[in-house]
Symmetry: C2
């Protein structure tokens, strides 16, 4: 059994086309032996965003801190701590920080699409 | 895309042998179309606990509120908000509330083992 504080997990820069001022912590992945899905925690700084993109796998998301938006069907929808999201495979989406404070959310994906 | 506040998701009593004063919110499951894994949010009241058990699938866990313990290798280990846990398949475990306030944690499992 792994037990770790998120604070102790190192942050890595999100190095994807279309990402700006994003970092990620790999909380639970195949490196821990997790065979089916991976838990990542993203932090988007003020003014930052994830790519506007789509891909052939789903996201399950929990908003942890700050205030942000998610791009849904061409509109930016406000999301806040305590919100959960399900984004089906192949649905276009983007997350933006909508405040001056860090925007943090957990994002889980199937393990076979986790690159780290 | 589903967006929901955890506050709006109904709670259901955890009706398992060995569970005491536990409720669960089904945040993202196959009912939402999620094909691979399910996100559930548990609330254990003061004095409550989940079963001491093992099963043939893993847990990925994030501690959200309160203070609790997890049974690991015969000892109760304190866990707190911001902790992440990975419990491999077939490893015995139990969660207990260790305070007078609600103890809340997110627990994800492979979709094929989600009953609701």
């Amino acid at each position: 059994m792994k037990i770790a504080s998120v604070k102790e997990i190192p942050s890595e820069k999100v190095d994807m086309d279309g990402a700006k001022d994003c970092q990620v912590k790999l909380a639970v992945t195949a490196r821990d032996g997790a065979p089916n899905f991976a838990m990542r925690i993203f932090e988007v700084s003020a003014g930052g965003h994830t790519p506007l993109h789509r891909h052939p796998y789903e996201h399950e998301i929990f908003v942890m801190e700050g205030q942000g938006t998610v791009w849904r069907d061409g509109k930016e929808v406000t999301i806040k701590p305590g919100d959960v999201l399900y984004i089906p495979a192949d649905e276009q989406h983007q997350f933006k920080n909508a405040s001056n404070q860090a925007f943090k959310f957990m994002c889980l994906i199937p393990a076979k699409f986790q690159k780290c």
